[in-house]
C-alpha cells in the first residue's frame, strides 16, 4: 500500500481511492465515467426534446432494457440469432482457415486465388441478400450464408498475413532439425500464424454479428434483427433503443470472450519479459 501510494501520489484522483485496486481497474473506471456522462446527457436531452418517437426517455429505455433480459420472446430470438452467428462463423472458419494457410504458405495458391477473392470481397454484403434468398429461401439459410460470407474474408486475410509474418528462419531451423512438411505445418505454420488467426476470428465474429442483424431485417421473420424492425413498425422506439444497446453489449461480450481465448491459446505472448541486464 505504502509503496503504491507514494509512487502515484502526484495523481490527484488516486488520492480518493485505495491505490492498488484503482490501478487495476483504472481503464474500467475511465470508460464508466464516459458512459455515465453520455447517459446523463441523454436524460436531459430527452426531457428537453419531449418527443419519444425520436428520442425516448432514458428511464423508459432503461426499463425496457432491464425487462428485456427476462422476456422469453426477446431471449429466444436472441438465442436463435446467436445460433445463426455461430453456425455461419463455423462454416467461415472451416473454409477460411485452410484456405488462408494454403495461400499464406504457397505462392502459387496465393496467385491463383487472390484475384478472385479480392473481387468477390468487394461486393457489399447487402448485395448478396437477394441472391441468398433465391438460393436458400427465407429463414436460417440466407442469414447463415450472409454471416459466413462476411466472416470468411477477414479470416482468410488474417491467416495469410499470419503465415507470411513467420520468420523464414523458423522454417529453416525446423528443417535442419529434421522436421517433415506435416511437422512444419503443425509446429511452425499453425502456432506461428495463430495470433493473427485469432485476430481474424475476432474481426470475423464482429462482422458476422453486424451482418446477421441486417440480414434478419430482410431475409427472415425471426431473430434479433427482426425484433428491431418490429419495434420500429410498432413505433416502440424505446424498445428499439434497448435492443440496439443489447446488440452492442452482446457483440462486446463475444469479443471479450475471444480475447480470453486468445490469451489462453497464445499465453507465450503474454509472459513477462526478461527483467535485468
Amino acid at each position: 500500500m505504502e509503496r503504491n501510494g507514494s509512487t502515484i501520489s502526484t495523481d490527484t484522483i488516486v488520492k480518493l481511492t485505495p491505490g492498488d485496486i484503482f490501478d487495476k481497474y483504472r481503464g474500467t473506471f475511465y470508460s464508466l465515467v464516459v458512459v455515465t456522462i453520455l447517459l446523463i446527457a441523454w436524460y436531459f436531452a430527452a426531457n428537453r426534446i419531449q418527443n419519444t418517437l425520436l428520442l425516448p426517455y432514458f428511464q423508459e429505455t432503461a426499463r425496457e432494457f432491464l425487462t428485456a433480459w427476462f422476456d422469453y420472446r426477446i431471449m429466444s430470438n436472441l438465442a436463435l440469432t446467436l445460433r445463426r452467428v455461430f453456425t455461419g462463423f463455423l462454416y467461415a472458419f472451416i473454409i477460411g482457415i485452410p484456405l488462408g494457410l494454403l495461400m499464406g504458405y504457397s505462392q502459387t495458391a496465393l496467385q491463383a486465388f487472390s484475384p478472385i477473392m479480392n473481387s468477390v470481397r468487394q461486393v457489399p454484403i447487402m448485395a448478396w441478400v437477394p441472391l441468398s434468398i433465391i438460393w436458400f429461401g427465407l429463414g436460417d439459410g440466407p442469414t447463415v450464408f450472409l454471416i459466413a460470407m462476411s466472416a470468411v474474408f477477414p479470416l482468410v486475410i488474417n491467416t495469410i498475413a499470419g503465415v507470411n509474418g513467420i520468420d523464414p528462419n523458423y522454417y529453416n531451423a525446423a528443417r535442419s532439425m529434421g522436421a517433415s512438411l506435416p511437422d512444419i505445418i503443425r509446429d511452425i505454420v499453425v502456432p506461428g500464424a495463430l495470433p493473427s488467426i485469432l485476430t481474424g476470428c475476432r474481426l470475423a465474429m464482429g462482422f458476422g454479428w453486424m451482418s446477421v442483424i441486417c440480414a434478419e431485417f430482410i431475409a427472415t421473420s425471426a431473430g434479433f434483427g427482426f425484433l428491431m424492425v418490429e419495434a420500429q413498425i410498432r413505433l416502440e422506439t424505446a424498445q428499439l433503443y434497448a435492443l440496439m444497446v443489447m446488440s452492442g453489449l452482446v457483440g462486446f461480450v463475444i469479443d471479450k470472450g475471444f480475447l480470453i481465448i486468445e490469451k489462453k491459446l497464445t499465453s507465450w505472448r503474454f509472459k513477462d519479459g526478461f527483467v535485468g541486464s
Binding site: 520468420d167 528462419n169 523458423y170 529453416n172 531451423a173 525446423a174 528443417r175 535442419s176 532439425m177 529434421g178 522436421a179 517433415s180 511437422d183 509446429d187 511452425i188 502456432p191 506461428g192 495463430l194 497464445t266 507465450w268 505472448r269 509472459k271 513477462d272 519479459g273 526478461f274 535485468g276 541486464s277
Partner: protein
Amino acid sequence: MALLEVEGISKIFTQRKKPPHIVLENMSFTVERGQYVSLLGPSGCGKTTLLTMMGGFLTPDAGEIILAGNKVEKPGPDRGFVFQNYALFPWMTVKENILYSLQVKKLSKQEQNKRLHELLEISHLFGSENKYPVQLSGGMQQRVAVVRALASRPEILLLDEPLGAVDFQMRELLQEELAALVEGAKTTVVMVTHDVNESVYLSDRVIVMSADRGQIVKDVYIDLDRPRDRQSEDFKAYVSELTELVRQAFREKNVELQPDFVQKDVNDNMQTNFTNAYNRMSSRYTNVSHGRVAK
C-alpha cells in the same frame, strides 16, 4: 579424411534487370574433425552464403559440400545450425525447443529426458526449462539455441554470426560462455563472423575471405592455449595480423562483370563447372530482361 570438404563451390545471384552477381567462385577448403573454424571477412564477402549452403538451405551453382562422406543436398539433423537471431520458436518452452529434433524423430520420452538433462547440464539452464524464450536474457537465449542445435548430436555445428546482435559489453562475456559450451560438447564448428577479436578468441583456425567472390585471402591457424587471454601479446599479435588481412581483403574488391578465368591452382573440371553455371545464369538473366515480366 576430413570431416567437411568444400569443393569448388560457386554461387551466383541473379536479379531482374541487374547483371549476375558472383558471390563465391570456386571456393575449396576442408575442416578436420574437432576443429573450430571461423570464416572471417567484410560484409558481402559471401561467408553467410557459404554457411547457408553448408546448412543445405541453398544449393551451390557449382561444386559440392561433403560432410562425413555424404553430399549435402538439403537441411538435416547431422548439421546443427545456430541462426543469427537464434530463431528459437517463441511458442515453445526452452525444453520443447531443445528437444524438438528428438521429438520429430519420435524418440521415447525416456531418451528425450536423458538428453535434456545432459544438455541442461552443459548449458547451465536448469530451472529455466519451462520458461518461454521471451522470458530469457540474451545470453540464455544463445545457450538454448546452441544446445538445441547440439541435441541431435550433429557432426558439425554451424554458427551464423551468433553474437552479431549483442552489444560490446555483453559480447566478450557471451564469447566465453560459447567457448565453454562448445568445448564441453567436443564438436566441430564452422562460425561466420566479421569480428576479428571474436574469431581469434574462439577458433583454432581463421579463414579470411575477400569481398570479391569470396576468395580465400589467408588461412590462419591460431596457436594459443585455452582459455585465451585477450591481454596477452600473442593474442594481440593475431588480432592485428587478421585486422590487416581483412582490411586488405576489403580493398581487393573490384567490380567486374565477367569472371576472371586466369587462376593459380584451379582444378580444370571445377572451373568448367563454374563456367557452365555462370553461362547458365547469364543466359537466364538475358532471357528475363528481354522477355515478359511475370507479376
